[in-house]
Symmetry: C2
Subunit: 342 residues, 2 copies
DNA sequence: TGTTAGCACTCTTATAGTCCGAGTGCTAAG
DNA sequence: CTTAGCACTCGGACTATAAGAGTGCTAACA
């Protein structure tokens, strides 16, 4: 229902606004972009586009600014993914240039590079730790009353927690218990670990090995996963560079929301495969109503996935970010899967 | 050389400005604080104080604002440490209310509570990890080509790192090596670990145990301490609440500087015992020239120390912060020493 | 001699008025 | 259907003015 020319003008308008952050007027547009219509024509079309809700005016006689609907249409129909410039590719590849063997390290670097490349804030979610598989459990006594519990998973992730142990327990007893734990719990996912520990405790208790039972249950308490938050940020402060944000209050609440890992699932819908764009009020959190968020998932082996999110102003460089995320998501998947398999 | 009355007026002026963030004038001051002099007298004294460099005017006919020298004098001579209000004490104590067994956890909580209590940013330095003593080393193979190295220290701190291992190494070989490592390196400080490992590698090589030598040296590379940064922040965003900071650029560079662990030694002079106050340009970093930083050290056992820093505007509530830090430093020392000793 | 009232002066802040430029919508001509 | 022309609107920059808070100085007072 939009004419060819309207599409063109919408696209050019959005592009221009994304680039300049200034409301775009008909004259300006006629000159800058090589459009072959007169300003008057453009004016008419813009009025129509405004009527349809794709553009807005900031005041009666101002130039036009894309509405959320405008951005949405732009993103859905007008986005011609561009080839990444060489420089960008080089930088992205630099993430992997030192052969890093740790998943977390790679993700951290990705977050950093991504924020540098975009000047927006990046949020990366690593693989869900709860699905990691226990590779080895151990307990290292620290003193007569405490020990540290260590869980190593198949990905090389290490969880550790100090916990109290009954006074006067012999080291050899602990060793025995660790053996039991390993015998029975290696291969279990962290998610199931707690449940399984409960079963094992009961089992042990039934066999009248009370002392172990105690140890089992304090150990169990220690390994309740502290809501593992493997979230990595890049460029948290980049919001401060965006001319779109000047209200310190809004900035504050936006930063607050992002910092709080509790809110992450609202920012990055979990389980969503592929690339998604949320514009302004499409975001679940009201603190982000002036932002756009682009998310994409990536794979780690066959089973696990992570997510990448870029948070920026609605006036975000969608084209560039989409290309960037597409590429990075692919690269990350490849690299992390390689690391996992070795 | 300052008269009694000048001292009083200086103190009241600084107090008032700290509280109101507004330049304070003679009339205002005469009314609000129960001073028994007329505004004219106060005016004269203020003029003198300005002459001596303790006060400043923001413009020719404005009220007075403390100069850095004024703050310095106030802090050095006019600070009458106040008893903490009950509410504050209750909140401080809440740090320790659940019996937490982990040093890091306690410090984290302290950072949080402290920033809530002050509305400034808190930076806490934990004990220097490099002085921790190795309690146990272990290596857990993840796949044919990689393993994770784990170092547990006497404080329950766990360092871990994934590193590549020579293909086709038998698990039992690894076990042997771990035994050697533990035999020789338990009791060494993390700081010395690297050096010692080098010696051991040579030793092993000399005995023609080449395979181990390889493993030793990759292991050694893995445990190069990644500049251990046990720094904990509270209220990083609190700067945004301070009316003193409005320039987004300055805010940005301030936050940048604080975030960068590299700069921490410039913010918190290491090795300094006791409480220190740095006002404005007394700070080493130019990004902090509008801030005051109050630091205090605390003990962890007999050997180790940590630091607490509060970063706020020069117009900081020195009295309150000093009391708060005094108390917290004492409490932390007691509690952490207890945890360490068990 | 130290203190204070009085007063002229200064400077900031808020408000209102003016002007310019960029932009629009509409009409009429091409 | 397109475009030139034109009247109109509005924000931003600039100026002027008034009010308010504060100062410094002088002179009177205790």
């Amino acid at each position: 229902m939009l004419t060819e020319r309207q599409l063109l003008i919408l696209k050019v308008t959005v592009d221009d606004y994304i680039q300049s952050a200034q409301p775009v007027g008909s004259n300006q547009l006629a000159k800058k972009s090589g459009l072959s219509f007169s300003p008057a024509t453009i004016r008419n079309e813009m009025a129509d586009l405004e009527g349809m809700g794709f553009l807005e005016k900031t005041h009666t006689s101002s130039g036009r600014v894309p509405s959320e609907r405008g951005y949405r249409y732009y993103v859905d129909h007008l986005l011609t993914p561009r080839r990444l410039p060489k420089g960008d590719i080089v930088q992205l590849r630099s993430i992997f240039e030192d052969k890093i063997t740790e998943t977390e390290e790679v993700i951290k670097r990705s977050a950093m590079i991504l924020s540098e490349l975009t000047n927006y804030t990046s949020i990366l979610l690593g693989p869900d730790v709860r699905r990691h598989i226990v590779k080895k459990l151990s307990i290292v006594p620290l003193s007569s009353g405490s020990a540290v519990a260590i869980i190593v998973t198949d990905t090389g992730h290490v969880e550790n927690r100090v916990f109290p142990i009954p006074e006067g327990l012999d080291p050899s007893e602990i060793e025995k218990m660790v053996n039991i734990l390993n015998e029975r719990l290696v291969g279990v996912s962290l998610n199931d670990l707690h449940k399984r520990l409960e079963q094992e405790t009961l089992m042990v208790m039934k066999q009248h090995m009370e002392r172990y039972g105690d140890l089992f249950s304090t150990f169990r308490q220690a390994v309740i996963l502290p809501q593992e938050k493997n979230v990595y940020y890049g460029g948290k402060l980049n919001i401060l560079n965006q001319p779109d944000f000047h209200d310190l209050h809004k900035i504050r609440s936006l930063m607050d929301v992002m910092e709080e890992t509790e809110h992450i699932p609202m920012i990055i819908p979990v389980g969503n495969q592929g690339l998604h764009i949320r514009i302004g009020s499409e975001n679940a959190l009201s603190a982000m109503e002036d932002c756009s968020v682009i998310t994409v998932s990536y794979d780690i082996g066959e089973e696990q996935t992570g997510s990448i999110a870029i948070v920026g102003p609605k006036r975000m460089d969608y084209k560039r970010i989409v290309s960037l995320l597409d590429t990075l998501s692919g690269d990350l998947s490849k690299e992390l899967t390689r690391i996992l398999r070795n």
